[in-house]
Structure formats: structure tokens, C-alpha cells
């Protein structure tokens, strides 16, 4: 039997001269706003996706115009922390080169949308000038490292954040391609043949995600990551981490070989072993991950195909020591805590609700202007949460009033009045820019939330803290498989209705109704809300209720 052929992207990576491809030639091609097909894979490693305005695709074809190609740029921003000065510059970049909006992602990064090819280089230079880069924000490498956002336990948070940032640097690709192509760095002798000590010449088989959680909050949905670090904190001190591996939410419709999976906890390691553990796990996946079938290439399949015991042993072999037994921990919830909270150091943190993470000026809600004005006076920092929200962090007590005034003036005080359903919602970008979207997500979120809320209201469930997530495709950017109610796009106006996750990021939901339209979605939920209102236990979450009553049968429980 012959060896199965490498997947096409593997060939592209191998031929890319350490992620250079023909990007320079593609950028110079003035006849098209697109880049060469192979380069669309290469550019992901540089933090950008080629997209087009899908709303206009058909009409432009008739107009004898190519699709309205544009690029999404994603920042690498471990833990989602930026200074007010950086905020102001990023905001300006969004106006100058993007579509005048900032998008907070579900992995604590910024996304710029609508950057055209001829301005791509200038935009990346402008971003780099803020001391933020986009290296490895996408592509088959370690992606943006997530860190629990809410700095209630300020010192532990600072410690974990510092370790996450170090890890992000450690796992950064060594190729100089990014600096040569975008920042005009001189070529050095090994250009195109740089040694990639962690990744090797073909990088990883697939994307790789790392998250750091600080119990009892699981805002990073740590078990959805390929590699998770759950901080074990004692008296404000980070002793070490429970390590989890093999999480991942992407799936393909109709392919039972693909599925969302929550990570398994491997055991405990002391705090100084973070980088060693990451290196062992990443290189194991590098060497054993599936490079012939791309949709089976995530670490979760490597583990399932070879067995958890094998995997743990391989990692321990590379580490040179064994994991200690996992320490006890407990997650209460995976959402954000809105409003003002006081940190250990006496400073205050204000968590704002940003619907679908989109910061834009709209009639009566000048969010972008408001945040710009806050950035102009803010002495602390901003933190992007893993749930697409924003924390104005480290506000001195005497500054709260000024910030509250700006919040009110620009309609940023939605967190005060929004219902829990709205506050706990996540949507991916989807149409019109995402090439993968099969149905609407971000643009549809306000409307579908309004309709579901009306049903909740009708059943006296106005304040039920239900986690709702919507995704335009099954790849899972909004972590839909961890929503108590989730819609996963199947086709225009049609979704898979997923139900029954917990609100702690430790139980996946399951498919309840397949490929249904809004009418069926609402009708189904209406019946379930009626039962929930009548039969729930006190403080019982909607997902837990559905499992308890056997409406859904759970399929995968994260170990704890």
C-alpha cells in the first residue's frame, strides 16, 4: 500500500520558502485585488485572510468585475491586553485602511476587515508601529494565546498573563518572511531556509490553540483549546497548572469523522514547566499529526487515533518527567462578569458588553467614538475578553465617574439593561466577509436574540442566564458547541439547533434539530422554554435542565 498523498496545503507550505510563497509578486499584480491561490494559504501565517464582499459577488460578476477582494487582518495579542495609546492607533488604522470598525474576536484579538491589497502592506506597517504584530495570528501554527481576562485576582492574573506572553513569544515562527515582505527588512543569508526549531519546514498540520484559565472562571473555554493551562492558585500565588490537551471545536457537516471535542486533563505541572510542556505537546503534534487529511489534522484526532495514554506517554517522554496528578479545581461559569469590579490593588475594572465584538459607530450608539474618548483619558489598559467583550481595566477610583459619563454619553452602558441572553451571546463574523460562512451570524444576532428574548419573556424567563452562540459554519469560531443554545449555519437562513451545553465550558451541546429555519427554531425553543419555566430546579441552567430531563443526551464530558 502506498503512502497517502500529503494534503495540498502541506505542499504549499513545503514550497513556500519559510512562508514567503509568491506574496511579493502577488502584491505587485495590479490587475487583480486578489493574491495567487497558493499565497492565500501562506498569508494566513502572516495574520491575514483573503476575503471578498460576498453580498456583492453575484452582481460584480455580472458587472464584469472580479469579486470585491479584501483582507482581514488579525492581531497577535496574548491575553488581549492593549494600552490606551495602542487602542487609539488601532482605531485610527481601522478608519484609514479598514471598514471603520474594530472587531474583538473570541480569542482576544482585534480583527480589521475590508483592507484592500494595495494597502495591506501599509496597514501591517501601521499595526507594527503600535508594537503589536500579526505574526502567526492565523495559519498552521500556535495562534493567539488566550488568558483569563477578568483580573479580579490581580497578582495571579499578572503572573499568568506574563507566562502566556512568554509562551506566545517562544512559539513564534522564526522565519523572517514577515519582516522582509511587510516591513522591508533586509534579507539575510539564510533567507528562505531559516531554521524553525519548534515547527520545522512545514509547520504544524493544522492550527494550534492555547488557553490559560484561572478558576473559578472559564471565560477562555479552556477545554476547547488544543492545549490548556488551568492555573492552580493558592493564596494569590500561582503554584502551577493542570494541563489539558486535545480540545477543538471544528467539524464538517455530514462527516462523522470530524467532531467537536473537549480536552482531557493530563495532570499537574509546576509553574516553571509551561514552556517545556508546550514544546513537548506541540512537537508531538508536529510529528504525529495527520498531514494527509486536513480536516482530521487537529491534535484532538491525533489523540483519538493513537489513544490518550500513548499521547501522554509521548509527551512525558519528550518532557523527561511525568505529570503529577491533577489538582482539584472548579469552574463556575464561562461568561463575563459585567459592570464595575474592584481588583485586589484597589483599582477598578469595568466590563462592557460589545455585541458580537463589533465596535462601530451606529445611530444612538457611538461605541467607537466613545471608546476613543475613554482611551484618551484612561490611565490603565484595555482587555479583550474571550467572549468578545471589553474590560476597561485598572481604573483609579477617582476616574470612575468620568468614564461612566462617557459610557452613558456613547451608549456603551448596554450592560446595565441588556438581558442575560444578550449579554451571554457570541457570534462569529460570517457573512459578508468570511469565505466559509454558510449562513448569517453576526448580522443576524440582534434579530434572532430579540425573537428568542420575546419567547423567554412570554414564559416569565426574562432573566434566565442562557448562553447563546451562533456560527455561520461548523468550524466553530464562536465556540457554538459550548452554547446552551447554539445555531450552526447550514445554508442561507438554515441552522442546526444545538442544545444542552453547561454554562461552564465543560459539556458540549448536541444536535437537537438539523437544518431548520427560523420558524422551526423559535417553535422548538418555545416548547422547551415552556417546560423549563414549569419544571426547572432552582437556579438550574437551561442546558443542565435539558440534560436532566433527557431532552438531550450528553456526548462528551471534560475530565476534571
Amino acid at each position: 500500500m502506498s503512502t497517502p498523498a500529503l494534503s495540498p496545503v502541506e505542499i504549499i507550505k513545503a514550497d513556500s520558502r519559510r512562508l514567503r510563497g509568491t506574496l511579493v509578486e502577488s502584491l505587485a499584480d495590479a490587475v487583480t485585488g486578489s493574491i495567487a491561490e497558493a499565497d492565500t494559504h501562506v498569508i494566513k501565517f502572516h495574520g491575514s485572510y483573503q476575503q471578498d464582499d460576498r453580498d456583492r459577488r453575484d452582481e460584480r460578476r455580472l458587472q464584469k468585475l472580479e469579486p470585491d477582494y479584501q483582507f482581514m487582518i488579525r492581531t497577535r495579542l496574548p491575553g488581549g491586553v492593549v494600552t490606551p495609546q495602542q487602542w487609539l492607533r488601532l482605531d485610527e488604522i481601522a478608519t484609514t485602511y479598514g471598514n471603520a470598525s474594530l472587531r474583538l474576536t473570541s480569542r482576544q484579538a482585534f480583527q480589521f476587515h475590508g483592507v484592500i491589497k494595495t494597502e495591506l502592506k501599509t496597514t501591517l506597517q501601521a499595526i507594527n508601529a503600535t508594537l503589536i504584530d500579526t505574526v502567526a495570528a492565523c495559519g498552521d501554527v500556535n495562534r493567539n494565546v488566550m488568558v483569563a481576562a477578568n483580573p479580579l485576582q490581580s497578582s495571579a492574573h499578572a503572573d499568568v498573563y506574563a507566562q502566556a506572553t512568554q509562551l506566545s513569544e517562544f512559539l513564534r515562527p522564526h522565519t523572517r518572511a514577515y519582516y522582509e515582505i511587510w516591513l522591508d527588512e533586509e534579507k539575510v543569508a539564510d533567507s528562505g531556509e531559516e531554521v524553525e526549531p519548534i515547527y520545522g519546514a512545514t509547520y504544524l498540520p493544522r492550527k494550534f490553540k492555547i488557553g490559560f484559565a484561572i478558576p473559578p472562571v472559564n471565560d477562555v473555554d479552556v477545554f476547547s483549546n488544543d492545549l490548556g493551562f488551568i492555573a492552580i492558585v493558592d493564596d494569590g500565588e500561582v503554584l502551577g497548572y493542570n494541563v489539558s490537551a486535545g480540545g477543538g471545536l471544528g467539524a464538517t457537516h455530514g462527516d462523522a469523522n470530524t467532531y467537536p471535542r473537549l480536552a482531557d486533563v493530563l495532570g499537574f505541572v509546576p509553574r516553571d514547566k509551561v514552556i517545556a510542556v508546550a514544546q513537548a505537546v506541540v512537537t508531538t503534534q508536529r510529528d504525529f499529526g495527520n498531514r494527509t487529511e486536513r480536516k482530521r489534522a487537529r491534535l484532538k484526532y491525533t489523540i483519538d487515533d493513537r489513544g490518550l495514554e500513548w499521547f501522554k506517554a509521548e509527551v512525558e517522554k519528550r518532557l523527561g518527567f511525568a505529570f503529577a496528578p491533577a489538582r482539584p479545581f472548579r469552574f463556575d461559569h464561562n461568561g463575563d462578569r459585567f459592570g464595575w469590579t474592584e481588583g485586589e490593588n484597589g483599582n477598578w475594572h469595568l466590563t462592557l458588553h460589545i455585541e458580537a465584538g463589533r465596535i462601530v459607530d451606529r445611530d444612538g450608539a457611538s461605541h467607537r467614538t466613545g471608546l476613543r474618548e475613554i482611551a484618551a483619558i484612561h490611565g490603565g489598559e484595555f482587555r479583550l475578553t474571550p467572549n468578545q467583550n471589553l474590560i476597561v481595566a485598572n481604573v483609579a477610583p477617582d476616574q470612575r465617574a468620568r468614564i461612566d459619563a462617557l459610557i452613558a454619553a456613547h451608549g456603551l452602558d448596554g450592560y446595565r439593561v441588556a438581558t442575560p441572553l444578550r449579554l451571554n451571546s457570541i457570534a462569529c463574523v460570517a457573512l459578508p466577509t468570511c469565505a466559509l460562512a454558510m449562513a448569517e451570524a453576526e448580522r443576524y444576532l440582534p434579530e434572532i436574540l430579540g425573537k428568542i428574548q420575546a419567547l423567554l419573556d412570554a414564559h416569565g424567563l426574562r432573566d434566565a442566564p442562557i448562553h447563546f452562540r451562533i456560527s455561520g459554519c461548523p468550524n466553530g469560531c464562536s465556540r457554538p458547541y459550548l452554547g446552551e443554545i447554539a445555531l450552526v449555519g447550514k445554508g442561507p437562513g438554515r441552522y442546526n439547533l444545538m442544545l444542552g451545553a453547561d454554562a461552564r465550558g465543560q459539556r458540549l451541546n448536541v444536535l437537537h434539530r438539523e437544518n431548520i429555519d427560523e420558524g422551526d427554531i423559535l417553535q422548538t425553543l418555545d416548547g422547551l422554554f415552556e417546560r423549563y419555566a414549569a419544571e426547572r430546579d432552582e437556579r438550574e441552567g437551561f442546558g443542565d435542565f435539558l440534560v436532566r430531563r433527557g431532552v438531550v443526551v450528553e456526548r462528551n464530558q471534560a475530565t476534571s
Partner: protein
């Protein structure tokens, strides 16, 4: 069909395989027909047929051999941009011939300049373009006439009819210049020059009458050795003319600028049906528009005139509404109408404006007759209005297709003129007419041939096509044609427009042509995509080295589009390229370009 004859004669195939002549005669024939346009060739073929019909021993004499003796024929020379001067010159030639005299009708660039010194009797009909420039076909003639090389013309009698637009400062400047220069060179003016404004016929008709009368008086009837046998009748295509247009079905009306862009550019496909109409790449289509109904209604409302009132003018009787929608010019405002309106409005302000071109020209910008009516109320009765408004004229659009590719269809690229000004929306008559047609509609069209804008007969020659904006239209036809005939020469397109994303006309077609090797190079200038505006002339300079190499290699250069700025800027850029890369002086570079033009390797279709 004529184009095919051209191709055969000039193709690499030896001429004797096509026609039964000895080689030396064939070569003479090839030389003889070189540079002749469609009309000349038809005339020649008729002349030859006439000769053939004569008794075998009759000795034919050349019809046009000017000598020192009194004139025996009239030369009618024209310089035409949109076809008006040509039409009038043809009409004059017919009138002269019907009086039993012989007339030689020549486009200015077909006129043998060396014969000017022995010319005896010359009528010139010539238009003036925007800024006082001669039409494309007359540049060489005007340059020669105004140069030191121009001969003394003591034996010449002449008269000039100039065409122009009095809204411009240099109204009929070219006609005036030629008129004065001929006098200066010693020629005798037969009768006063005519300076026709946009209402051409009011001046042109009496001038043509004078011309025919004076010719009859001055020239003794000369025996015509060979009657011209009319071969035109054999062409079905000729049955559709400006005066008798073909009603073409609309096959497609597709916006080709992005919906979120600022310009509305249309790609229009028309069926030639059973018309028998044919065209060559480089030709134009004349379109007879119907005026926008809302504009007609606005004018009638503003003047409180009855749409149904019957008006008789110039032997035609129609309801006023029909006059306005089908017969009268409403969207192009010209000086005579402003003057007539000023007389009625009795407002000092308007009188002041019409007093000088310097004040009139900016006033006319973006204004239409309706704006005048709104801002300077005045009374018009229906008959006076019809008499004062200019006759509606057809608009010419460079054809954007090759018949070899778009069989029995003609494609146009139309910029829909649609803007707000003076508190109201405005549209261009023809572009709006075309932009609002759909598959249910028919459009009155005719083919306006343009023999000055032809692909090289030698298909192995390279072509350089410079066509920003809708000026790209004929180059779509060129690339289609060259692909269809398998031309070996390379094609290089220079295109420009404000924005890449919204205004890259025919983008996916150019991309496909590049992939298929039907287009070899493309250079783009999107003026508003960066801080400094970049236009095609800038990309020409940037590509100067290669451009000059192509020119030296025999490439033909074509320019289509805006005459006011673009064509001049492009000309200057080409001159600079030749100076820089050819190591020539500015004068020599200019001469290089003049030689290219004389060799038909530098062709312009600008408007």
C-alpha cells in the same frame, strides 16, 4: 467587406494570387489604394467600372489633374470629428456633380499636400474641437498650411465653412485660421466664410447654396471621361444611414461599474438583426436618442405649454411634445439659445453672461435649457421654442466589440451622465436613453465608419492601446478582433479610471485575455486610489523604455477618450518618452510622432 479587401491587399499574400494583374501593375495598385478610405475606394471602383464600360479605344484621362489653366473641377476638402463636416462636404459634392461639374471629395488627411500649389478651386468644410483644435483627420493639413512650407496660392479660389460651438472662446477658430491663411498665401476668397454654430443648418445651408452657385458660375462644365458607376447600392448596409437609422433590439444593458462606486457605466449589447449592418473595429455607432420624458415634461410645465399643441417647422408638423422628445436638443445648451432666451427674459445678468465666452463657458457647465428656464423665467410660445431649439443630433459611441467575436451584435460602453446641479437632477440625453433601455426596447442606430482608427493591416505589428475611462471601448473590439484573426502582434493596454475596485471596466475580460495570451501587457492608472493622482500619462512615462522599444519595433499607437485633457497629456507623455529613450530633441520627438501619425501608426479617436 471593404476591410477585408484592405486586409487582402496588405497581407503577406502576394497580390497576384488575388487579382489577375502583372506584378508591376499590382504593386502600383497597392500603392494607389494605400491610405484611401472607404468612400475613396468605392468611388474608385465605380470609376473603374465606368472606364470598363467605355469603348475599348477611348483614351481615358485622369479626372483630377490640376494645371495652370482655369479650374475644371472643384475640390471639396473636409475635416470632421463627429461626421457633421463630412456629411456637409458630401452633400456639397453631390450638389456640384448634379450641376454637371466634377467634384473631388477628400478628407483632409487624404489630401495630397504637394498638389495644393496647383489647386484652383477649393471648398473647405472643417470643424473646430473644444479648445480651438482641428479635428484628428486635419492636423497634418492644418500644420502644413500654417507652416513655412506652405506654397503661395495666387491661382487658388476658395471658401471655407467652419463648424463649431459658440459657447467656446475659440468658436470656429480652425475655419477662421484656414480662411485667413489661404488669403495670406495669396488665394482669392470667393465668398464669405460661414461660421456654423450647433444649429448648423442655419449657416451651412445658405453657404452650401452659395458654394454650388458660385461653382456653376466660375467653372465651365468639363467632360467627364468616365462616369462613376454607383456601386454603393449593392451594399445593404448603406441602406441604414444617419437619416435612416436601423432599429436595433437591445440584448443586454448591464452596469459594469460597481454599484457602490460613483460612476454608472453601462455595457450595452445591440442586435444587428437582419439589418446587414457591418462594422470594423474602430468604427462608431451613431445613436438617435429620445429625450428624457421627465425633462420634456419639466420644460412643458415650466413654460405652461400644451404638450399637444401642433407646431409646424421646416415642413414638419408634430405635437409640441413630440418635437421636444424626438426632434430637439434639450440637454446641450449652446450660446444662440442662451442669447435668444436672454432677449425674452430681459434680465441684465443673463445679458452680461452671454457677452463673453469667458463668462459664458463656466455658466454653460452642467447647465441645461431647463436650468435657464427655472433661473430666468421667460415666455416662449410653442412655435418660437421649436424654432429656437437646435435640432436633436445623434451621439457617437466607439464600438466595443468585434463582429468576428460578437457575431451580428454591436456592443457599446456608455457612461451614464447623471448628476445633481442647481437643485435638480440632470441626465445626458443619449446616455440616459441608453442606460434606461431594456430588452423590450429598440434603439435607432447607424454605423459611422472611422477609417482613421484601424488596426494595422499587418497583423504581426504590435499595438499600444491607450484608453482610459470609456475610451477603452474600441480596445475591447481590437483585442477581440486580434484574437479572432490570430494576430501574431502583441497587444498592450493602458487603462485608467478613478478607482480600481469600482471602475476597472471589463476587468474579468482583461484578466481572461491576459491568461489566454490575447492581451500581452496591461498598465493601470487608478487616479484616486492613492494620495497623488495617477493617470495613464504617468504610466506611459513609467513604462517609457519598453514603450519606445515597441515603437521602434513598428508598433501602432491608439488613443481613445477625452480630448480636452487626456489626449493632450498623453501626447506630451509620448513625446517625453521619445525624448528620453530615443535621445531626441523635443522638436525631433514631435516630428517622430507626426511621422507616426502620417504613417497611420498614431491614431486617435478622441472627443
Amino acid at each position: 467587406m471593404l476591410g477585408r479587401l484592405d486586409v487582402h491587399i496588405m497581407s503577406a499574400e502576394p497580390i497576384h494570387t488575388l487579382i489577375p494583374f502583372p506584378d508591376d501593375k499590382a504593386a502600383m495598385l497597392a500603392r494607389l489604394v494605400e491610405g484611401l478610405d472607404r468612400a475613396n475606394l468605392h468611388w474608385l471602383s465605380g470609376y473603374a467600372a465606368g472606364l470598363a464600360a467605355q469603348p475599348a479605344n477611348a483614351e481615358p484621362e485622369p479626372i483630377a489633374a490640376p494645371g495652370a489653366e482655369a479650374a475644371t473641377h472643384v475640390t471639396v476638402l473636409y475635416g470632421s470629428q463627429t461626421g457633421n463636416a463630412k456629411r456637409l462636404a458630401e452633400k456639397l459634392a453631390r450638389q456640384i456633380e448634379s450641376a454637371g461639374l466634377s467634384a473631388r471629395l477628400l478628407r483632409a488627411d487624404a489630401y495630397p499636400l504637394r498638389e495644393l500649389k496647383s489647386e484652383r478651386f477649393l471648398y473647405i468644410v472643417i470643424s473646430t474641437q473644444g479648445d480651438g483644435d482641428p479635428p484628428e483627420d486635419s492636423r497634418g493639413f492644418v500644420e502644413f498650411l500654417t507652416s513655412k512650407r506652405a506654397p503661395t496660392l495666387d491661382n487658388l479660389k476658395f471658401s471655407v465653412l467652419g463648424l463649431g460651438d459658440s459657447s467656446y472662446a475659440k468658436f470656429c477658430a480652425v475655419g477662421m485660421q484656414i480662411d485667413a491663411r489661404l488669403k495670406e498665401l495669396g488665394a482669392t476668397r470667393l465668398f464669405e466664410r460661414g461660421d456654423a454654430d450647433l444649429d448648423i443648418d442655419s449657416v451651412a445651408t445658405p453657404w452650401l447654396q452659395s458654394a454650388a452657385t458660385v461653382a456653376r458660375e466660375q467653372i465651365k462644365s468639363a467632360p467627364v471621361r468616365a462616369n462613376v458607376t454607383p456601386l454603393w447600392a449593392a451594399r445593404t448596409a448603406a441602406t441604414w444611414t444617419r437619416e435612416r437609422p436601423f432599429s436595433a433590439d437591445v440584448l443586454a444593458n448591464q452596469r459594469i461599474s460597481a454599484t457602490n462606486g460613483t460612476k454608472d457605466i453601462r455595457h450595452i449589447e445591440l442586435s444587428l438583426g437582419d439589418s446587414g449592418l457591418v462594422y470594423e473595429p474602430g468604427d462608431s455607432i451613431g445613436v438617435w436618442p429620445t429625450n428624457p420624458p421627465h425633462l420634456v415634461a419639466d420644460i412643458l410645465d415650466t413654460l405652461k405649454l400644451d404638450p399637444q399643441s401642433i407646431v409646424t417647422h421646416a415642413d414638419e408638423t408634430l405635437p409640441l411634445e413630440r418635437w421636444l422628445s424626438d426632434k430637439r436638443e434639450l440637454t446641450r445648451l449652446a450660446r444662440p439659445l442662451v442669447v435668444a432666451h436672454a432677449a425674452r427674459a430681459r434680465q441684465g445678468e443673463l445679458d452680461g453672461i452671454v457677452a463673453s465666452p469667458e463668462s459664458l463657458q463656466p455658466f454653460l457647465k452642467d447647465r441645461q435649457f431647463i436650468d435657464l428656464l427655472r433661473a430666468y423665467p421667460a415666455n416662449w410660445d410653442a412655435a418660437s421654442l421649436v424654432a429656437a431649439l437646435n435640432p436633436l443630433t445623434p451621439r457617437l459611441y466607439s464600438i466595443a466589440s468585434s463582429l468576428k467575436f460578437a457575431e451580428n451584435e454591436v456592443h457599446l460602453t456608455v457612461a451614464h451622465l447623471d448628476y445633481d446641479a442647481f437643485g435638480h437632477s440632470h441626465v445626458g440625453a443619449a446616455s440616459h436613453f441608453l442606460a434606461t433601455r431594456d430588452e423590450e426596447n429598440r434603439i435607432p442606430i447607424y454605423v459611422e465608419s472611422n477609417d482613421r482608427f484601424r488596426l494595422p493591416r499587418d497583423a504581426s505589428r504590435d499595438v499600444i492601446m491607450i484608453g482610459p475611462g470609456t475610451g477603452v471601448a474600441p480596445f475591447r473590439a481590437f483585442v477581440q478582433e486580434r484574437a479572432a484573426i490570430g494576430a501574431r502582434g502583441r497587444n498592450w493596454l493602458f487603462f485608467g479610471n478613478p478607482h480600481f475596485r469600482s471602475d476597472f471596466l471589463y476587468q474579468i475580460e482583461w484578466q481572461a485575455a491576459l491568461k489566454r495570451g490575447e492581451l500581452h501587457k496591461i498598465d493601470l492608472a487608478f487616479s484616486r486610489d492613492q494620495a497623488e493622482k495617477v493617470y495613464v500619462q504617468h504610466t506611459l512615462r513609467r513604462r517609457g523604455r519598453a514603450l519606445f522599444d515597441w515603437l521602434e519595433g513598428g508598433a501602432h499607437v491608439y488613443v481613445c477618450g477625452d480630448a480636452t485633457h487626456m489626449a493632450k497629456d498623453v501626447h506630451a507623455a509620448l513625446r517625453e518618452v521619445i525624448v528620453e529613450h530615443g535621445g531626441k530633441s523635443v522638436e525631433d520627438a514631435e516630428a517622430y510622432l507626426s511621422q507616426l501619425a502620417a504613417d497611420r501608426r498614431y491614431c486617435r479617436d478622441v472627443y
